[in-house]
């Protein structure tokens, strides 16, 4: 077995992707100037969040996200052992490496961390209320951003006689800068709480594992998990709408055909119109929900692709008509949570232990709503608005002849978009012909080809030299990277014949037929009783979890967004296998052992 992964400098450019490096900012690339570090460090591909090729603009959130995480660990909170996460892009895929803090600084960091993190834990609810307000303000600011075509002549009153001294040309450039700034602000907010939330959860987790070494992870998750979680709310809204359709006698409309046909039937009755307005109410904000991780412009957003929620609602209507009860039994869930907590507490040897247990559980429950909910507010809601605004700007460029379609904008780097807007502005101000229409189309075309070529390349799960033990706590928790999984990767995935090892993300053992899904558009292919095998799953796939028996993913840890949903549905899940989609094919019979994190081809 090899003792290291390939050097990033040895990885060849896939055929047809020559020049891919130009799609990204120089600082995100492996480079000669940092060769010694880049070559000897352990890098893993972050398939949990970025399993697909990053287009130039989509790299924005990769860069903003990881940099914000780093900033909080190092500069704000001083998480004692962990500095930030260094990131690189190789062949279009994002790679990360955790940076340990200098041991000599640990003592000072501990003191700072106790002060700073301690303050957050003490004042969590107040700060979290503030966070919610900040987020809503931020979404409102994002919504206010607009990219209207520049006028032939500025308004006399508003612009000229008001003495503002500024016009639309300035505003449109300001709007874009503002959008980018709000994106960075969003990611700062995202990490204001997140790692603290995980830290408190990890501490409770560690206590449980020490008190009961064999306790299933699921039991710990169940003790902490919220009963009402915003991340499940979009799915709840679908169920509510399905119930409403059945109760008001308009369910037939959903067998009328496509969305348009359904809407036509709905609009012909009062009940149908009432349903449509109820749908629209749910849609803002709950259907600002991505079918993927929310990190790609190409992920479908429910509110912009109404056929997606309509199909799920149609399925739920079918289930209701068969007499199934879709409601989550809240009281029963609460009672079960209390039972689990009480039974474990009873197993502790002393009252002092029980007190410590309740203290840690109490904190974990205070912080966990953030861990569960932030994903909706950041990756789904805010990102959806940003993607929409970017497409609006894309449309403007199409009109001006810079692009052939709105999505071309995502093949420009974020700084290049500023250049294009500058070009547009200058050509409007002068006026003269813009240079863009002659400049961008071939670049965008070439970059689309490069991205297609890179998509055909299967990223190696890791690069460089793995450490003996992986000690960075968040790497394990969020990405599911452990000393074992790196060993398995070095061995090429298949340790024993036909076996894949991963994280035991949700317990249980089942056998069944695999359905391999590479992107969200394929999820309607999933048949009742199959085992879902995917690079990763997204929370918005929840409606198909009622159909499947188990889940296997290439990437992800036990706290990845996907694992949370699997446990909610009580399905066995093995995450972070590295190679599931490469070694399993649709139709294969497999056994998923979510208790031990093993997938076996039968």
């Amino acid at each position: 077995m090899a003792d290291r992964f390939p050097s990033p400098f040895e990885i060849e450019t896939p055929e047809g992707a020559e020049g891919w490096q130009e799609m990204y900012v120089y600082s995100s690339l492996f480079s000669e100037g940092r060769r010694e570090f880049d070559d000897n460090t352990f890098w893993f591909q972050d398939g949990v969040h970025w399993p697909k090729v990053l287009t130039p603009w989509d790299a924005t959130f990769f860069e903003f996200g990881i940099a914000s995480l780093s900033q909080y660990n190092t500069r704000h909170l001083q998480v004692p052992p962990a500095n930030g996460i260094a990131f690189r892009i190789l062949n279009g895929y994002g790679y990360l490496t955790p940076m340990p803090a200098d041991p000599a600084t640990i003592e000072e960091r501990v003191a700072n961390f106790l002060d700073r993190a301690g303050f957050y834990f003490m004042n969590w609810n107040d700060l979290y209320d503030k966070w919610m307000l900040k987020m809503r303000d931020l979404v409102a600011e994002l919504e206010a951003v607009s990219f209207d075509p520049l006028p032939d002549i500025e308004d006399a009153d508003e612009v000229v006689k008001s003495g503002a001294g500024l016009g639309s040309g300035y505003r449109i450039q300001e709007s874009y800068r503002n959008l980018v700034n709000l994106g960075l602000k969003l990611w700062n907010y995202h990490f204001e709480f997140l790692n603290l939330g995980y830290a408190a959860y990890l501490d409770f987790f560690g206590f449980c594992k020490e008190a009961w070494p064999n306790i299933p992870d699921l039991a710990i998750a169940k003790m902490v998990a919220g009963v009402e979680v915003d991340l499940f709310r979009p799915d709840e809204e679908l169920k509510r709408l399905a119930r409403m359709a059945v109760e008001t006698g308009i369910a037939d409309a959903f067998s009328a055909g496509d969305v348009e046909a359904t809407c036509q039937v709905l609009k012909s009755s009062d009940a149908g119109n009432a349903w449509i307005s109820s749908f629209q109410e749910s849609a803002e904000p709950w259907f600002n929900f991505s079918t993927g991780s929310g990190f790609y412009h190409s992920d479908k957003i429910w509110i912009e692709n109404v056929e997606v929620p309509f199909e799920f609602i149609g399925n739920y209507i079918g289930m209701l008509q068969k007499g199934e009860d879709l409601a989550r039994p809240m009281e029963a869930i609460r009672a079960e949570r209390d039972r689990i907590v009480n039974e474990y507490a009873d197993l502790l040897p002393s009252d002092a232990d029980r007190e410590a247990f309740q203290g840690k559980l109490g904190l974990a429950r205070v912080v966990f709503p953030y861990v569960e909910n932030h994903n909706f507010y950041v990756e789904h809601w805010s990102h959806s608005v940003i993607w929409r605004k970017m497409r609006q700007l894309g449309e403007l460029f199409v009109k001006e002849g810079f692009f052939t379609e709105a999505n071309d904008i995502f093949y420009l780097k974020r700084t290049e978009v500023e250049d294009a807007l500058w070009d547009y502005y200058v050509s409007w101000a002068t006026p003269e012909q813009a240079a863009g229409p002659g400049y961008w189309p071939p670049i965008v075309k070439r970059r689309r080809e490069i991205c297609a070529a890179l998509s055909a390349w299967k990223p190696t799960p890791a690069l460089g030299v793995p450490p003996e033990v992986i000690t960075e706590p968040f790497t394990v928790m969020l990405w599911g990277i452990t000393s074992e999984s790196t060993k398995a990767w070095l061995g090429g995935g298949a340790g024993d014949e036909g076996q894949l090892k991963g994280m035991a993300a949700s317990p249980g053992v089942v056998e069944g037929v695999a359905r391999v899904i590479f992107n969200p558009d394929q999820i309607s292919e999933v048949q009742e009783g199959e085992i879902l095998v995917a690079p990763l799953t997204a929370p918005s796939w929840a409606p198909i979890f009622g159909k499947i028996q188990a889940t296997v993913t290439d990437t992800g840890g036990m706290m990845s967004h996907a694992a949370i949903v699997c446990r909610e549905y009580g399905l066995p899940a093995v995450t972070g296998t590295g190679f599931a989609t490469a070694t399993i094919q649709t139709g294969d019979r497999i056994r998923v052992d979510g208790t031990n994190g093993v997938v076996t081809k039968l």
Partner: protein, 361 residues
């Protein structure tokens, strides 16, 4: 007067009538600890039969002038008393109730002439009956109503073992007042059997039930002659958290002549798990119930019975307190109480400094 008491209809007021062994079986059944099914024939049944057969007259005759130092005489007289009891007609009502109860047991086990164990159940722990009744009073693999009736009489006869009789003579106890209850209980015919601890013996984890299991009788598991399948089941969620299926090279099986023999195992049966997941969880629940009932960690023996209906075929054979880890845990708790708990923030820092996966190695 009660003649027959089923284990499940036991209540405390009956203890004097059925003796300690039957009372304990009754208590366990009532507590949701399913021992193999059965019933007790009460002391009343003995008294009724004794009176019907006028046993007192026989006793008076044979025990008159007994010299407890004369071994030959004791052997002869006691032997004759026992032979008399073994052959005396049972009171007709007692016999009919006994036969009826046995038939009912056969019906419940869906097995004609179901094999049973017939054994005495002493009525007072302090009485000499308790010390001596245990000597010759267990009859295993008894089949059919006639044989059960005979075995009950033989149990009764065991009140008059040489030692017990001499003891009563020397202490001046009245032989006419000694009584006995008899337990009739289904013999377990195990598909699989084994042991279970209500904690993990390898790390003391009290949230876990550790189960060792093999095909057939549990002897091989207890003695270590079979490498059993080994499972861990979580006590709260009943998740199977560890599953190690061993190659079981032998099985302890019942022969045609009611003895247990060791048979070599090959092929699929050797490598197949000896318990289904549902059975595993049922064993774990049983162990947990025993722990709750006795209020301390238990070490139990259990079996999956071949004759009982699927939902009630996991039976408890024995439950003992676990000692090793229980003592260690108490010591550790005392040590922790002495040092006090670590502050929550300090604990979070140390969690971050020593991630779980390296700590749990």
């Amino acid at each position: 007067m009660n003649i027959v008491m089923w284990f499940e209809s036991y209540w405390e007021g009956m203890k004097a009538e059925v003796g300690g062994k039957a009372a304990s079986l009754g208590e366990m059944t009532g507590a949701g600890l399913p021992v193999p099914p059965g019933f007790a024939l009460t002391t009343g049944a003995y008294r009724k039969s004794r009176d019907a057969a006028d046993l007192d007259a026989t006793l008076a005759r044979l025990l008159h002038g007994l010299d407890t130092d004369d071994t030959a005489m004791v052997t002869d007289r006691c032997g004759r008393i026992r032979a008399h009891i073994e052959q005396m007609p049972m009171d007709p009502e007692v016999e009919s109730r006994l036969r009826h109860a046995y038939q009912e047991l056969c019906r419940r086990c869906d097995t004609p002439d179901v094999p049973v164990a017939v054994r005495s159940s002493a009525t007072s722990e302090d009485s000499p009956d308790a010390s001596f009744a245990g000597e010759h009073d267990t009859y295993l693999w008894v089949r059919g109503a006639d044989a059960v009736v005979d075995a009950v009489r033989r149990c009764w006869a065991s009140l008059f073992t040489d030692r017990a009789t001499c003891y009563r003579v020397e202490m001046g106890y009245d032989h006419r007042t000694v009584e006995m209850s008899v337990v009739v209980q289904k013999m377990v015919r195990p598909i699989a059997a084994g042991v279970a601890f209500t904690l993990n013996p390898s790390d003391g984890d009290r949230s876990t039930v550790a189960i060792d299991s093999a095909w057939g009788f549990g002897e091989g598991v207890v003695s270590g002659e079979v490498t059993p399948d080994n499972f861990l089941v979580d006590k709260v969620l009943y998740e199977i958290t560890k599953r190690r299926v061993a190659t079981k090279e032998v099985e302890f099986r019942l022969t045609d002549h009611d003895t247990v023999e060791k048979v070599a195992l090959e092929g699929e049966r050797a490598t197949a798990p000896s318990l289904t997941d549902a059975q595993l969880k049922a064993v774990a629940r049983l162990a947990r119930t025993a722990e709750r009932h006795y209020r301390c960690p238990q070490d139990i023996e259990w079996a999956v019975d071949a004759d009982l209906p699927e939902t009630e075929n996991i039976v408890l054979l024995q439950s003992r307190p676990e000692t090793v880890w229980s003592r260690k845990a108490a010591e550790a708790a005392a040590a922790r109480a002495a040092t006090g708990n670590v502050d929550l923030m300090q604990s979070i820092v140390s969690t971050l400094m020593n991630p779980l996966h390296s700590r749990n190695k």
